[in-house]
C-alpha cells in the first residue's frame, strides 16, 4: 500500500509540473536609438518690399534686394528649410510668384548659392559659427488692382536634419 500511494502521488506531481508552458531561448540583437540635442534654431527676417506699382503691371525684386532671413543654430549643423509662400498679397488682383533665392553662410550675397524657394524641404548647412543667410525675391503682378497697400506673410521653417 505504501508503494502504491507513493506512485500515485508521484504521478500527480508530474501532471502538475507538466502544465507549465513550453519555453524556448530567443536570439537577440540590438541597435541604438540616438539623438543629439543642440542649440535651438532661431529665424529672423526682413521684408520683401515691392514699393509702388500701378494697378495693372508687374514688378520684380531680385533676391539681393529682397527679403532676408537670418538663421542661427548649432555650428555646422545640417538643416532642412521650407518656405510658406503666398500666391498673392491678400488680393487676387495682386499676384506674387516667380520666387528666387540666394543662400550663404556669411552675410553677403557675393558668392551666395542660388535656390528656388518652395514648400519642398531643401537641405542646407549652417556655418561653423551656426549662421545661415537667405535672400528671397519674387515678381508681383497686378491686374486692375484697387489702389491700396497689400501684404502677405512669407514664412521660413527650419529644422535640424
Amino acid at each position: 500500500m505504501r508503494r502504491s500511494l507513493k506512485l500515485v502521488l508521484a504521478l500527480v506531481a508530474v501532471a502538475a509540473g507538466g502544465s507549465s508552458a513550453v519555453q524556448a531561448q530567443g536570439t537577440t540583437g540590438a541597435i541604438n536609438a540616438t539623438a543629439s540635442v543642440v542649440a535651438a534654431l532661431s529665424v529672423a527676417g526682413t521684408d520683401l518690399a515691392f514699393g509702388n506699382i500701378s494697378p495693372t503691371s508687374f514688378k520684380t525684386v531680385a533676391p539681393a534686394a529682397g527679403g532676408t532671413f537670418t538663421v542661427t543654430g548649432s555650428a555646422s549643423a545640417p538643416v532642412s528649410v521650407t518656405f510658406g509662400l503666398p500666391a498673392n498679397l491678400g488680393n487676387a488682383a495682386v499676384v506674387i510668384g516667380s520666387w528666387t533665392g540666394l543662400t550663404n553662410t556669411t552675410n553677403s550675397t557675393a558668392g551666395a548659392a542660388s535656390i528656388t524657394p518652395s514648400a519642398s524641404a531643401q537641405s542646407l548647412t549652417l556655418s561653423g559659427t551656426g549662421n545661415l543667410y537667405l535672400w528671397v525675391g519674387a515678381t508681383v503682378t497686378t491686374t486692375a488692382a484697387p489702389v491700396a497697400g497689400y501684404t502677405a506673410p512669407v514664412s521660413l521653417t527650419v529644422v535640424y536634419n
Binding site: 540583437g29 540616438t34 540635442v37 535651438a40
Partner: protein, 161 residues
C-alpha cells in the same frame, strides 16, 4: 486504509481501488522536435534621429530608421518581440510612436507595416534563403532637454514558433 484514502482526492482513491482489478493498458505518444539552424540577428543600422532642438519633436520613418537582419531556416515561422526604450537616457528626451516594416527581401518597397512591441508578433522567414529584414522608426520628443548626445538600446528577440 480507510483513514488514509479519506484524505486523498476522489480520483486518486478511484485509481487506487481500480488498479488491482484492471489489466494493464499502455498508451503512447511521440515527443517530437526538429533541430534547425540557429537563428542569427544582425543589427545593421542604428535608429539615428540626428540633431534636435531642446524642445521639439522629430520623426524618423522606418524606411530611413534602424534595421535588423534575421537569418534562420528557410520558410520557418518565428516570433519577434522588441524591448523598446521610453526615452533615450533622459526623461526629457522621450521616444515613442514606434513604427516598423518587415520584408523577406532587403528592401522596404513592398514591406509589410507592423507596430513594434513587447508582445510577440509572428513572421515567416524567407522560403528562399531564410532571411527576414526589419526596419524601425519612431518619434523623439524633447522637452527642455539639455544639450548633449542621448542613446538607448532597442533590442529584438527572435524565436522559432
Amino acid at each position: 486504509m480507510v483513514c488514509l484514502t479519506s484524505r486523498l482526492p476522489g480520483f486518486v482513491v478511484a485509481a487506487l481501488l481500480a488498479a488491482p482489478a484492471a489489466r494493464a493498458q499502455t498508451g503512447s505518444f511521440t515527443a517530437q522536435a526538429r533541430v534547425v539552424s540557429a537563428l542569427a540577428v544582425a543589427a545593421t543600422s542604428d535608429l539615428a534621429f540626428g540633431q534636435i532642438t531642446p524642445t521639439g519633436a522629430k520623426t524618423v520613418a522606418p524606411t530611413t530608421g534602424g534595421r535588423f537582419r534575421i537569418a534562420g531556416t528557410r520558410g520557418q515561422p518565428v516570433s519577434v518581440s522588441f524591448a523598446l526604450p521610453a526615452n533615450l537616457g533622459a526623461p526629457a528626451v522621450a521616444v515613442g510612436s514606434w513604427a516598423g516594416l518587415a520584408n523577406t527581401r532587403n528592401r522596404t518597397n513592398g514591406a509589410a507595416a507592423f507596430v513594434p512591441s513587447a508582445a510577440p508578433a509572428s513572421f515567416t522567414l524567407s522560403a528562399g534563403n531564410g532571411r527576414l529584414f526589419l526596419w524601425l522608426g519612431a518619434t523623439v520628443t524633447t522637452t527642455g532637454a539639455p544639450s548633449g548626445t542621448y542613446s538607448a538600446p532597442v533590442t529584438v528577440t527572435v524565436v522559432y514558433n
